[in-house]
């Protein structure tokens, strides 16, 4: 296995350096253009075998990874497991061993258990990329969020970014928190206290109870988190109706801000719950830019983990590496 500048695996942003994160963002830049071509394919990962191992339902992330892999000319296989009578852990160990026995190069894993990507990474020689593990991290989502913020504002350092909603259950929030703070943004979280994890204030973020407070704080960006509908059933919030009324990101609330506030959402959106349609579809929404950037960021991650050199990414596109 080629040693990459990112290490063997990408399991989360918590333990990455700001330089590594910037490197991924910078490497994504030249890859953006590949998706704009009529023939969206470069030979950078020709001959590499990648397994997309999804133990949880996913459309956006799985498709985004698959496009990234295919546009780099890798051979890809999708494995979807919705669990079975055997425990997930046992399945994971055995799956890992079987995959390794087939001599693959990379695994992209999504799993409902926090730490599953790290667990797999410690047990196989192939590169492991975390596509979301439980409530832990979703690093490529945060990377594409960072890229999108940088595109929009020209920088990340010094910006005020607030993550709004169900922080407790959100791996997107945790990865964003690490990535944003490492790159010098001011980070806040905002949502009902029932959906705030213990000790979050000790992680260098400001905690707000109301969206209004985040806007008055001077937020440049609101990254609105998805509210899983089961949170209501489990008693974290009384109703979706009230959630929208009290915590929804609406045009009325955004009007408090003297400046335009960039609106992001990792998807899939619950329109009329955590985000008002007029905001999601409004002029300051970059939600679809996030999706576009997702492919480029994932191409960059795959390329770098495979041992590709950042300064050659542009050349790699032309197949002259």
């Amino acid at each position: 296995m080629t040693a990459s500048i990112l290490g063997k695996d990408l399991t989360g942003l918590e333990h990455m350096t700001p330089e590594q994160i910037r490197l991924i963002l910078d490497t994504a830049e030249p890859f953006k253009e590949v998706s704009e071509r009529p023939i969206k394919k470069v030979p950078a990962l020709r001959g590499k075998t990648i397994v997309n191992l999804f133990f949880e339902a996913s459309t956006r992330t799985r498709v985004s990874f698959e496009f990234a892999e295919k546009r780099l000319s890798a051979d890809t296989v999708n494995v979807a497991s919705t669990g079975s009578s055997v425990s997930k852990g046992e399945t994971l160990v055995d799956t890992a061993r079987n995959l390794e026995a087939m001599r693959i190069d990379m695994v992209v894993i999504r799993h409902p258990s926090s730490g599953a990507a790290e667990f797999l990474g410690h047990r196989i020689d192939s590169n492991v990329i975390n596509a979301g593990d439980g409530k832990h991290e979703h690093p490529t989502q945060a990377l594409l969020d960072l890229l999108t913020i940088r595109d929009k504002h020209g920088k990340i350092e010094g910006l005020k970014v607030c993550l709004v909603g169900d922080v407790l259950h959100s791996r997107v929030a945790r990865s964003n928190l690490w990535g944003l703070t490492k790159l010098g943004a001011e980070v806040a979280v905002c949502g009902p206290s029932t959906l705030m994890p213990r000790g979050i204030n000790e992680l260098g973020v400001t905690v707000f109870g109301r969206v209004e407070e985040a806007i008055d704080w001077g937020a440049d960006v609101l990254n609105v988190l998805r509210l899983q509908l089961e949170r209501m059933e489990k008693g974290f919030i009384p109703s979706l109706r009230e959630y929208y009324r009290v915590f929804g990101v609406t045009p009325e609330r955004l009007e408090r801000s003297p400046k335009p506030v960039t609106i992001m959402h990792p998807g899939p959106m619950n329109r009329g719950v955590e985000i008002d349609s007029r905001v999601a579809d409004g002029p300051h929404s970059v939600i679809l830019n996030q999706v576009t950037n997702g492919v480029a960021v994932r191409m960059a991650v795959l390329y770098l983990l495979a041992g590709g050199r950042a300064e050659l990414a542009d050349a790699a596109k032309r197949g002259t590496e």
Binding site: E14, S87, K88, G89, E90, L92, V93, H111, P112, S113, S114, G115, A116, E118, F119, D133, G134, K135, H136, E137, R171, R174, P197, R198, G199, I200, E202, L203
Partner: protein, 435 residues
């Protein structure tokens, strides 16, 4: 220990440091064991003809260690542990008596099942294994098990450990009914709706790892309830594996009020914090979970001043592949019989928190009294059954689960250098372990 076995030869342990917390003894001397009992303790002793003489200078002679809380997995999961393998591991750890929790498969909730454990213990002929009967039939938390018959068959306490007694009414009746037989009711304190789905302590580390936490209050609510029910009933409640500073405060206050409450703490809760869960190490997954350093400090202080009565290992064997899983999916629990003394000795005695006599009190004399163990234990008083351990307090060793006598190897202490271990374990005058 079998009735048919010939009486062992007299044994003279010569020239050791004799520590007997039951009589406040800590002095150089000899211990003479004859006919399975302590014959004499003093200086310059000699035995009758045929006495085996062991020079134990530089070593410590103490009453055998007692563990009120182990899981032996027989019947049901004999691949993980049996009564015999657990007794063997206990002997190696310096224990002369251990108490087996009833969460076996099937549950040890009747006199036949209790008698089975007693018979398996007798067959093994090693460390004594005292059964604990279930509080409720099938540990379902509904109907009381037959305490009277289980006690007649050898049960020393009742517990639904592994599960809390959710119904306060059931806990009340258990405490009342147990009074009749003079046994404690041992409770696993966990408020189930607060703890549901939790896999580690709720705090900053669980937030970072994205793992569902179990708040300290989940334990403390049940500790407070049990204390109040002990007060209401006059029964004896024994609180298993205490883990939080809040629990300590409640127990301290209850003891000051004269409520009949005893409590235990594990070596791992005295020495590790939730940081051990970082890297998703499933060998740091146990219930109750490892807490914070302030909790560890409070537990140590409470053990020293007797608010917590004793150390218990909560030895919980699991097959290697069960812990080889994502953190959420791995079972709770670690083995402890073969590391309990050394971990406690290294951290508490070598660490300057406890004296060796204080530690031996908390691992022998005190637990034997808490469960009123038959045959006594926890003392070197002349006439007492000769359950004795010889400890080498200077022995340095490194934890290697590969050489454990336990069938399971799930420990968070792998590779840890420790100081102190049992070199000779004697049950009723018979050597059951020798290093």
């Amino acid at each position: 220990m079998s009735d048919a076995a010939p009486p062992p030869r007299p044994l003279l342990l010569q020239g050791g440091r004799v520590i007997d917390p039951s009589r406040e003894i800590d002095a150089a001397g000899d211990v003479l064991i004859q006919d399975g009992r302590i014959a004499a303790v003093g200086r310059g002793l000699s035995g009758p003809d045929g006495t085996t003489v062991r020079n134990v200078s530089g070593k410590v002679v103490a009453p055998g260690l007692v563990d009120l809380h182990v899981h032996l997995r027989e019947p049901g999961n004999e691949d993980e542990e049996t009564v015999a393998s657990g007794a063997r591991a206990a002997a190696a750890g310096g224990f002369t008596a251990i108490c087996a929790m009833p969460n076996t498969d099937p549950v040890t909730d009747n006199q036949a099942a209790v008698g089975f454990v007693v018979r398996q213990s007798g067959r093994a002929g090693l460390t004594r294994v005292h059964p604990i009967g279930a509080i409720s039939i099938g540990q379902k938390g509904e109907r009381l098990a037959e305490f009277g018959e289980m006690v007649s068959a050898g049960a020393v306490a009742v517990s639904d450990d592994g599960k809390p007694v959710v119904s306060s009414h059931l806990m009340r009746t258990a405490l009342e009914y147990a009074r009749t037989f003079g046994i404690p009711v041992a409770d696993h304190c966990e408020e189930p709706t607060l703890a549901a789905g939790g896999v580690m302590h709720e705090g900053l580390v669980s937030t970072r790892l994205g793992l569902k936490g179990i708040p300290s209050a989940a334990e403390e609510i049940m500790v407070a309830r049990d204390v109040l029910l002990a007060e209401l009933t006059g029964g004896h409640v024994h609180l298993c594996h205490m883990s939080t500073r809040g629990s300590v405060a409640i127990i301290r206050e209850a003891k000051e009020r004269g409520i009949q409450v005893t409590a235990e703490v594990t070596p791992h809760h005295l020495t590790l914090t939730d940081h051990a869960c970082e890297e998703y190490d499933t060998h740091a997954k146990m219930n109750p979970p490892l807490r914070e350093s302030a909790d560890v400090a409070a537990l140590r202080g409470a053990l020293k001043d007797g608010v917590l009565d004793c150390i218990a290992s909560d030895h919980a064997p699991h097959a290697y592949d069960e812990k080889e899983a994502a953190f959420d999916d791995a079972p709770f629990g670690i083995v402890g019989l073969e590391t309990a003394f050394a971990v406690a000795h290294t951290e508490l005695v070598c660490g300057g928190v406890f004296t060796l006599p204080e530690l031996i009190r908390r691992m022998s004399t005190a637990p034997a009294r808490v469960f009123h163990l038959p045959g006594g234990g926890g003392t070197l008083a002349p006439g007492a059954v000769a359950d004795v351990v010889v400890l080498d307090p200077t022995a340095k060793w490194t934890v290697d689960p590969g050489v454990f006598h336990s069938k399971s190897h799930n420990t968070p202490f792998t590779g840890r250098p420790l100081t102190g271990r049992a070199i000779l374990t004697i049950v009723a005058g018979t050597i059951v372990h020798e290093l």
